[in-house]
Symmetry: C2
Subunit: 205 residues, 2 copies
């Protein structure tokens, strides 16, 4: 199977870390792919993902699996199931909910990035960036105030969260999350000891 990815995509990074942790990394061929909002890509839209997003997992029969969450659940299932996502019970819904929050935080950060870097300067709307950043920031606060997330065995929430923090460091280095959220700092330091996390850091900005 093949994974479309870029080294800077936090969504692709989540799948890469998951694949390493699940022991599946050698089964995946990584296909560097560039997708940029406002740049059309008829081939990718028609045959891989009409949303024109990364990552997409292309199976040997040519069918596609998206998005990064579904890919991770698929890999987890391939690895036996219940590894990074609890198979049943209340923990299952807690993990899925927390992961949806992390996903939304990353969506919000990317919208901030597009507003600040892609949109012509004269058309930028600070209230929009403030609004999106507020979502990401409240997400960080959410986890800071619910530290049981950090003490569970490794799961998709922790992997997603370290990707969100890494993306904040990569694209918003002066946002100040380390000063505001000491528990997240300790969590991030602990996660950074994993080879999977170190090996997938985004390149220097």
């Amino acid at each position: 199977m093949k994974l479309t990815f870029s080294a800077t995509s936090p969504f692709a990074r989540k799948v890469r870390i998951s694949a390493i942790e699940l022991g599946l990394i050698d089964k995946i061929e990584f296909v560097p792919t560039t997708v940029t909002p406002t740049t059309m890509n008829e081939d990718y839209s028609s045959h891989v993902n009409p949303l024109r997003k990364l990552p997409a997992l292309i199976l040997d029969d040519g069918s596609t699996i998206v998005d990064s969450y579904v890919i991770t659940e698929y890999l987890d299932d391939l690895a036996g199931g219940g590894k990074l996502i609890p198979a049943s019970g209340p923990k299952r819904w807690q993990v899925k909910t927390e992961h949806a929050i992390v996903q939304g935080m990353l969506d919000a950060m990317l919208l901030c990035r597009y507003e600040k870097m892609l949109r012509p300067e004269a058309l930028r709307w600070p209230k929009w960036v403030d609004d999106q950043w507020d979502r990401a920031w409240h997400g960080l606060k959410w986890f800071e105030e619910r530290p049981d997330t950090f003490s569970r065995p490794l799961d998709i929430v922790q992997i997603g969260l370290v990707c969100a923090l890494g993306y904040a460091d990569f694209r918003f280095p002066s946002c100040g999350w380390r000063d505001a959220f000491p528990r997240l700092v300790a969590f991030n330091d602990k996660m950074m000891q994993r080879d999977s996390v170190k090996a997938t850091l985004p390149p220097a900005a």
Copy 2:
């Protein structure tokens, strides 16, 4: 349990249709809620969903389940499992992938809506709207060209898709999807015969 929702949210509509089809509608108290980008809501951000999005399912113990996909999967599980989302096998990944595409189509439509209605007129960027609309449109094309989606027993993809088409009618009535996608028209007409779909139509724009 309670569901935060608005009558105009296509994501909330997906959950409402699912709850009706799963026979769980009477177990849910519906709480009309307004969330608007650029309008902060500290209480909702801190206690319900830091992403400030609808819908959220609030369980009797006060914990929250988000997003609309996770809520639907939770309700499906409550109803016995495997009703709207196949429990295993290749169909499971197909349905989850197609649902992720529908979700992204709706995200793109909402970004178009915010750009056209919420953002000050002088700050609008037509290329952004064109880009987001292209994603939604390619999503419609994706399903038009893969009509086996329409012939399966009712599932979360079909429910999501009828919500996306309803949202297109509601917010983008001149977008022309009916002229471009005849199979989607037939699918939508068929879905409109369901009480769950009729009862949850958005109000007149």
